[in-house]
């Protein structure tokens, strides 16, 4: 029972991690919380579903389409909703409000395009279930785990080793310094927002697979969970986002498994509040606030 729930929790948590990573990356370079991230995630889920239903390209195709959609939405958001504000050097609250506007717009657009009803994901993978010493793990779970962990590992490596990845890290640490080192920070910001949104879109497909139901309002709940993980892990900390997501997933599943299912969100968020009492800077956060716009 315990290990079974652990597997379920980690599977769910890995999708949370993926979503939280999107928040973290954008927070890093822009110092804002992207309130539209949940809606980009939801859009990714719907586009993935549409592609899977109508274009018979399998899971990989659906995932790629969802990530591409996320990237395009991210690009549009940066160019239309964030950059104009940055140029005028308005208060940091303005871009936050701006992303809330984007989120409302995207949700309405999704209602219009896809309808208000929950839709179920087509069976894009086999429903086979494996039994590992009493712990049941389904093919879908394996796929979700493999994709989200794979994406996170690649991202981690990419940020650590490549020139572009290092440029993103430098920009998120101090944008003026990055600029002085000859980094085109404008380009890095666009790239980061697109990358974060692509991860969000991809997570949409994975969550769609996990819950087998997607609807236009799912962005809000998911968005809040991602946000909670961002804070739990420590603002702008990549490792924190990954671990925090897994923790939240496990906490949720366990609260369901041990009989308090109607309080699953309350239990999970209650834990976050508790943890923040003990470590206000988050699990992996540093004491002093760094990073700039």
């Amino acid at each position: 029972m315990f290990w079974q729930q652990m597997v379920n929790g980690i599977t769910l948590g890995s999708t949370y991690s993926l979503i939280a990573l999107g928040y973290t990356l954008i927070f890093g370079v822009l110092n804002i919380v992207n309130m539209a991230h949940g809606e980009i995630f939801m859009f990714g889920a719907f586009v993935g579903l549409m592609i899977a239903v109508h274009a018979n390209v399998g899971l990989a195709g659906a995932l790629l389409a969802a990530m591409a959609t996320g990237a395009v939405l991210g690009y549009l958001m940066e160019v239309l909703a964030l950059r104009p504000l940055r140029r005028r050097k308005v208060s940091e609250l303005a871009p936050l409000i701006s992303t809330i506007g984007v989120s409302i717009f995207l949700e309405s657009l999704a209602l219009r395009l896809f309808g208000a009803e929950a839709q179920s994901f087509p069976p894009v993978s086999s429903t086979q279930v494996f039994d590992l010493a009493g712990v049941k793990i389904s093919m879908v779970q394996i796929i979700i785990l493999a994709i989200s962990c794979g994406l996170m590992l690649v991202l981690r490596f990419w940020l650590e080793k490549t020139k572009l990845g290092k440029s993103i890290r430098a920009t998120s640490e101090n944008i003026e310094t990055a600029n002085l080192l000859g980094i085109d920070t404008k380009k890095i910001i666009v790239l980061t927002v697109m990358l974060a949104s692509a991860l969000g879109g991809g997570a949409g497909v994975l969550v769609g697979l996990a819950f087998n139901a997607i609807e236009p309002t799912m962005g809000i709940t998911m968005g809040f969970k991602g946000l909670a993980v961002l804070i739990l892990g420590g603002l702008g900390n990549i490792t924190g986002a990954m671990v925090g997501g897994l923790l939240l997933g496990v906490a949720e599943i366990f609260s369901v498994a041990y009989g308090v299912s109607s309080y699953r969100d309350a239990v999970a968020f209650g834990m976050i509040i508790l943890l923040l009492f003990l470590r206000p800077e988050g699990l992996f956060g540093s004491k002093e606030q760094q990073g700039g716009r």
Partner: protein, 237 residues
């Protein structure tokens, strides 16, 4: 090499620079001295395009760079070691140096890295350490090394001695002199006027946004007004 003509710049309604003129000839060290708030850092930021001048020009090799984005100016051959060093604290020493060369497309980065390590052996020893764990003097050396990794033709240094112990300050000035002797053109902003004038060829004195005095460094050092205001009395030097 670098020439500033009638440059004015400011923040909002505050005019920090009022039409200053300044020239940095190739191969020389030029010191820009002045009190707090005189506009020294603003001059540096305006040269780098971090703040856009309201009027005037910045000529680098006879080309106006005053409206260019910062990263293009760096690409063109001007590097700034900013005030307070601005080390990337969460990246390693090696990564900091690599980021200095991030806009270069040639394949001599590795050999330049070796040269930097030869000049600053402490950086090689600590290359796997996070930048934030270095001492102030080591961070200053890292900041200078990082700026050199961009292969600039002009090196701007903003208060390199700030917050450092006297012995370390002497080290830093020695390094600046050595870099200059190796052919680098240097524009140095300093509050440590005595040291700055000792290694400089030319000097400019900035007061509340205006150049009030300029000339050969030795002359400036013997100017009674400078001696009184910056060198602590008439008998100094």
């Amino acid at each position: 090499m670098l020439k500033i003509e009638q440059l004015a710049a400011g923040y909002g309604n505050i005019q920090a620079l009022k039409n200053i003129d300044l020239a940095v000839p190739a191969g020389k060290i030029v010191s820009l001295i002045g009190a707090n708030g005189a506009g020294k850092t603003t001059t540096m930021k305006a040269i780098m395009g971090i703040i856009k001048p309201t009027s005037g020009r910045v000529l680098f090799k006879d080309q106006d760079v005053s409206r260019m984005p910062t990263h293009k100016i760096v690409n063109g051959g001007i590097s700034l070691v900013p005030e307070g060093r601005s080390i990337l604290a969460r990246m390693t020493v090696l990564e900091n140096l690599e980021m200095g060369a991030c806009q270069r497309r040639d394949n001599e980065v590795q050999s330049d890295l070796k040269r930097i390590f030869a000049r600053f052996p402490i950086l090689e020893e600590r290359k796997a350490q996070l930048g934030g764990t270095l001492s102030g003097g080591q961070q200053q050396m890292l900041a200078i090394g990082r700026a050199l990794m961009a292969r600039p033709e002009v090196l701007l240094l903003d208060e390199p001695s700030m917050g450092l112990a006297p012995l370390v300050v002497a080290d830093i000035f020695k390094v600046i002199q050595e870099i200059n002797q190796a052919g680098m053109t240097v524009l140095l902003v300093e509050q440590n006027v005595r040291q700055a004038l000792k290694i400089a060829h030319h000097a400019y004195v900035l007061e509340t946004g205006r150049i009030v005095l300029s000339g050969a460094a030795a002359e400036i050092a013997n100017n009674p007004r400078v001696m009184e205001a910056y060198l602590g009395g008439k008998k100094a030097v």
